[in-house]
Every structure is written in structure tokens, then in C-alpha cells.
Amino acid sequence: MPFDMELEAVLRPTQYPMPPYPPKVVTLANGKKMVIRQAEREDVPEILKSVHPCLFIERDYYNIVSARLYGELLAWYYYRAKSPYCLIGQVDGYLVGAVNGRMENEKVGMSYHTLAIDRGLRIGSHLFAAKMEYHLEYLGQEEVLIVAESPIGFRRWMIEYPLEPTTIPHELGGGDSYRLTREIYEKAKPRLVVGDRPVPPDLWEINTREILFADEKAIQEKIAGLKGR
């Protein structure tokens, strides 16, 4: 795709410096180890392969969440987002979930989406917690703005933390905005934020060698399968 570098300089937002998210490993309910790590911009095309099948799943609003995530990842890939990031969860190399967000400014984080591809293991909870951990503990921000687009998200974030309603609008639009303050985070942390660091070398090697993907049918079955865990 041809592009003009002078115009690109205008279209590409300046970025805040963003320290990396230190990877961690979480033991899931089935005993498997999920590595949570920061994706590189170059990983986006591969991640999109797992997001794509979710675009066609109505159940639990996967279509809305994955469509928005798809666009947000493309915006990152084409340098159209300001200070974005994406954390991914992998088990045995396979992508099992992704979360993303960005820095609104140095003090405020903007949470975007949480997509759990393997369900019933609280992967979404672990990834969302990692996202909050990133904003509060590593980006050094004071609060994160959050909005829910599904009943599951509302239950998991607004009620389980619990988040605080705010009149500051979230850039995704939609329903009422909520925020995670440092105080709320510190209170929730012992019961919601877990993980071990550093990631053992063997696990790191398996999960960074290549991002593996279940095929489209398998992903759709996992999310929208009859059993619907």
C-alpha cells in the first residue's frame, strides 16, 4: 500500500513512553500454565487470525467485542492509535485470550477490550487483571477508565472489583463509564491479581517461539459450542 511519509507524520500520533509489561505465568483451573505477555506490533496479523472467527459469534456479544478489538489492533498496526498496547495469554503456545488499551495521558489509562478465546477458565479475569496491573503498577497511572459492552464484562469488572461510576465519558461511547482508581486496585489486588515472575525459561521459549492458533471451527466451538460452559 503506497503512502506518503510526510502525510504519515501527520496521521501518526506521538506516543508516550511506555515501559514494557513484565511477563508472568498463571496456573489455570485445569492445571495448565498460561503465560501473559505483551504482544509486539508485528504480532498483530497473527493475533487477528484468532479474533476473526469471533466476529461471527453472537453469543455473549463476542461479535461486538471482537469487531472493536479487530479495529483497535489494526489501528495499532497502522500507527493510528496513541500509546496502545495488547497483552496476550498463551497456553502451550496457543493464543487463549487478548486484552488491550492505551494511555489517554500520563495519569489516565483507557481500557479497551477483553477477549477470552478459551472459556470457563477465568482467562478473561486473569487478562483483565493483568491490564489493570499494567496501567497502575508499570505505566504508573492513577486511574483507568472502563466501560462494559457485555453482561459478563459488567459482572466481572464493575461488580467483582467493584469499579466506581464516573461522569468522565469513555471513548468507546456506550453505557455509563466506570473507573478503577489506585485505591480500588489495591483493595482488589489480593483476590484478583495473581501470577508468578519470572516466567520459567521452558515456558517462555514455548510461548514466544510462535503464536499458535486453533482453527476457526475450533475457536467457534469453544466460544459458542452447544455446551456453552
Partner: protein
Amino acid sequence: MRDVAIIGAGMIQFGRRDEDTLLDMLSYASLKALDDAGLGDKTVNAVYVGNMGQGILQHQSSIASSLVDRLSLLPAAADTVENGPASGGSAIKNGLLAVASGYYDYVLVVGGEKMREVTGWRATDFVATMTHPQAEYPYGITLPGMAGMFTRLYMEKYGVTREMLVAVAIKNQAMGGLNPYAHVEMAIDKEGIFDSPHAVVNNPMGADPLHLYDMCPVSDGAAAVVLCSLEAAKKLKKPPVLIAGFGQATDTHTLQEREDPTDLKAVTLAAQQAFEMAKLKPSDISVAELHDAFTILEIAESEHVGFFKKGEGGKAVLAGKTKLGGQIPINVSGGLKARGHPVGGTGVAQVVDIVWQLRHELPKERQVKNAQNGLTVNFGGFGNNVTAFVLRRVEQ
């Protein structure tokens, strides 16, 4: 009174079935059971439907009348039977009595529930409508809340530990993973839900001391059986399964009125009646389906029906005595914990699973070797209305 046999059994996969109405699910399960029975040119005279909440959850009543019409079974008699989570067991009892008395020759009994159409909160509230309307419900009690208090007392009195509860969850989810009809097919691991510090997220507290994996899922699903006299059943192709014993007992509506809230008297009495009628004792049972809506209930019921002495049920789980191949395999289907719990359907599903066991037609990873007698316990309310069946394999 005639001896009554089960000649057909059918079940649909439990889980979240967005695409099906309750009537659809009841119909699918019924057709499977009718096909299985192979009645030929005969038809059923009556249909009993076990259902707890269609009127509340889907604003539809008289579901049995709808079902007979949908199945083209008119003018068969049709009744909906409501007894909370023991609706399925009570529906089978009605079918049993109707055939035993000689009034009807062939009866279809089906149980089912559609619960996933509403949020988990509303489903929990719906189930809580069975609590006492003045003494319990207004104070916010839910069934998980009652089970939590019961568990705490049981732990204190009988030394049950969380490790024992976790062992029940792991055993039943492992079996659910092998059951194509199960709602939860995911095996879980002790490290992930108990030992690891990460378990605080994976297995959060639900109702102290019960955690997420101590509780059954909220499910859609249905199961059905066809009953007739043993004499008529012997003329059919498949080996009939005799309803050798039945029992039902009640207890106080509120838990606090019980002399000892850890004593599940209705479970003991219902099981005793069923054993007496069958002329069997607990040690004669090859396989049991107990109502493990909460892990503690599997342990407590295994003691109350007489498989183990009080205080020994939890130890038995840890020792592997209740797993497939153990002294008394319990909930080989995965139980409510993994097969799922569409409340009105559970009592029938338990019987269907035992029928399959006694016919020796399950794959070997789920089949209790040479199973001859089975027990089901269907627990209504919080143990205030319980049904129990003893089923026996009949050699052709």
C-alpha cells in the same frame, strides 16, 4: 400392584441451549426415550412432565399439555409435576404409581428446565423461591447461602475438609469430561483450584466455605423415560430395568427448625423406603447418582443413604472409594456438578444414567463393571422433599 420397568431412556446434552425452547428440549428427550423403548404400534397413555419454573422463567404454564400436542400423543393424559429440584423424581413417582396400579399401561415421564435464558442472578433468585416465604427468602437467603451454612456445620461436626470437597469436584468434572451429555466437560486440577495461590482467582469464594467449583452450573436440559409393566417389558428387545424400590420423604421447610440441621432426615427416610421396597441394602448397590448440587451434598448424602458412616463420606472420596472402579461409584455421569442441573430435569436424568449403567451400554471408561443395582437421590428444597429410586437390572 404390578412391577414396573423402564423400557426407554433418552437425554439431550445439557448446557446452554439458546436455540431451544423448553418445549423443544422436552420433545427431543421424549422422542429419544420413545425411540429407545421401541413401542411399535403401541402408544403412551399418559405423560408426566417434571418442571419447576417454566411459569416463572418463561411465563408459560401447562407445559405437559403443550408437550402431548407437540408429540402427537393426543389424547394421552398429561400432567406437569412441580416439586422444586425434585420435580423429576416426583414425575417418575407419578408414572410409577399409574402403571403399578394398572390404570395406565405405558407412560412417558420427562423432566426439563430452561434456566440459561435469564442471568445467573435471576436464576439464583428463581431457585430461592423454594425457600420459606416469610422466614428465609425476605432475608436474602439463596440455595448457595444455605449450602454454605450447612457445609460449615458439617465441617465442624464431622471433620469434612475443603480438600474433601475439592476431591468431589475434581472427580465429577473428570467424569463429566467423558460424558457427551454433560454441561461441563472440562477436567479441573487440584493445583489450579486449591493448592496454587492463583486458585483465589480460578476458584473464588461463592458462599463461605463453598467456592465456585463446589457448585453445580445453571443448565438447560431435559431427560425422559418410558415406563410399563415388567411383564410387558419382557416382551421388548432391550433389557428392562425394574423400578425395584421407591421412597419419598419430607422435612421442615426452614433449616432452623430442624433439631440438627446437619441431619438430612428426608434423605435417610427416602432411601430406607426405597431399599425396603427393593429388599436390598446399601451394600447391594453397584452405582449411585446422588444430588450433588453442592459438593458437600454428595458427601452428606453418601452417609445418609448408608454407604458410609457419618464422618466417613469425605474420607471415602479422598480414598477413591466413590470413583469408577471404587467401592461404590457415585455420580459416574459427572453428577449435577458436571452433567449439569436443569432443576426439573435432574431427577429424570439421574434415572436415565442409571438405566444406561444397568443395561451395560455405556463406553467402558464410564461403565461400572457388571452393574446390577443402582440408586438415585433427588433432593428437593434444601432436603425438605426428597425422592429415591432403587433400580435393578433384569436379565432377559
